[in-house]
Symmetry: C2
Subunit: 134 residues, 2 copies
């Protein structure tokens, strides 16, 4: 499927939420889950991934929660998606460690290269600030 996963959708919703916080505020996984109707323990996992990728930062313990890791203008859509789904390759043979029996004659990779480039350059050009504005 040429589609973002539910996890990614949830991640984007959560990031929108976190981006809307006032400076100094944090949001808990529970708050976000209730606010956006996302299963709490699934969202918890997603927020952990975003934290590992440093899109957000976490404060542990009571009164803990999440805040943006950097300015919304500096978080690209590409980074958000790739934090959850891994590197974006529209076809499998674009992946780094992929070796294919068709290597010597298959031209699909070349044929779809423009699409791959178009897409990734677009995803790098849109930021959380743009996404959150809507």
């Amino acid at each position: 499927m040429f589609k973002l996963s539910k996890k990614t959708e949830y991640a984007l919703m959560a990031l929108q939420h976190i981006a809307s916080l006032d400076k100094g505020q944090v949001a808990t996984a529970k708050e976000i889950a209730e606010n956006k109707l996302i299963p709490h323990s699934l969202l918890a996992k997603i927020l952990q991934q975003l934290t590992r990728h440093q899109l957000i930062l976490s404060l542990q313990g009571a009164h803990g929660g999440y805040a943006l890791g950097r300015k919304a203008e500096e978080i690209t859509l590409a980074q958000m998606i790739e934090a959850i789904e891994g590197p974006i390759h529209i076809i499998e043979c674009n992946e780094s460690r992929y070796s294919c029996q068709r290597d010597d004659f298959c031209t699909l990779k070349n044929s779809l290269n423009p699409l791959q480039k178009q897409l990734t350059s677009y995803l790098h050009s849109v930021t959380l600030a743009d996404v959150a504005a809507s």
Copy 2:
């Protein structure tokens, strides 16, 4: 995953192959399968789908096979992908019959609309002629 399925890859390979035929020639599923290293019975299914969507036309019986249904310049990448994967929607809530509990407050759809539009307009602008040229 933000990726084309194997079926779609196979479809594109097959279309490239068929597009390269001389006028009046047809290619059998078996030929294409051997040429592109695609499982024969899977490819057979894929070619049937492409036929139903009229991207190619089939000649049944002995000496039968497949040929392009119209000029390569008139077959868009969008049509090829959608013949196999169905309508392209980067998020689920863009789908026609999707109803969502978050409808009244979720802005994700709006936020990602530019991406959806960018992508589909690109896919409609590229044709099999472009794809086959590589």
